[in-house]
Amino acid sequence: MNLLRRSFLNHCAYLGASALAVAAGMLKPLIAFAADWNKAAFDAASLADAMKNAGTAGAIESKDLLLKVADHAENGAVVQVEVTSKIPGTTSIALFVEKNPRPLVADISFQNGAEPYIFLVTKMAETSRIRAVARAAGKSYFAAKEVHVTTSGC
């Protein structure tokens, strides 16, 4: 009984020490991500499935979501996209290239002072609409623009 109690106490001491070590940053987990990678959304081959699995189906078009991208892209391997949301309470922005083999490009969430803005460079397989979707207060909003691609980036 006594032995068991001793080992239990030792175990607690060990757990306590490692918790302290983590708290002190000595054993910092390598990378802490808020959520698991959304495989269902990124693997979706159609825009409709990607939108649905990203939880943005039924997004409504909004002029307060600004999508800045060139009309023509010489090189589909490097297409610069800039998205700014003026929609109050925007918490995240997702980016889709509608005709890419997997339309969802990225899904980015903002917190603790990060503004709802993103700059990213994407590949485009062919001429397609680019679609940005912002989530705010439980609703989704989108903006889309056609980009003509000269040389495929995939």
Binding site: I31, A32, A34, V78, L104, V105, Q111, E115
Partner: protein
């Protein structure tokens, strides 16, 4: 061994404009090697998190459509000169990249 992420953060009013570039092949897994005819296995950054003085500000998930050697930009309100901005990324093979800079 984590690869380096190059970060530039400049203050514009009370907003830090951050641009980061990471060296990564961003292989889609759909492309065929011209010489061998074999599909080149996927290898791309899946997740990226940015912190301001240790607090998460941007938490991103990526697919393989993000360009090779990704460049990403974001803005952090309330940042001050000298604040630490760090970025960590994780790829589809479990590889990690990281970088850090001070707001200037």
């Amino acid at each position: 061994m984590a690869e380096a992420i190059k970060i530039r953060a400049t203050l514009n009013g009370d907003v830090a404009e951050v641009k980061a570039r990471m060296a990564h092949i961003m292989e889609t897994g759909l492309r065929k090697d011209q010489a061998t005819g074999q599909v080149v296995p996927a290898h791309f950054i899946k997740q990226m998190v940015a912190t301001l003085n240790g607090t998460v500000v941007v938490d991103a998930q990526w697919g393989f459509s993000v360009s090779k050697d990704p460049v990403v930009g974001f803005r952090i309100k309330g940042a001050k000169k000298g604040d630490k901005i760090a970025i960590k990324a994780l790829d589809s093979k479990g590889g990690t990249l990281s970088g850090e800079t001070s707001v200037s």
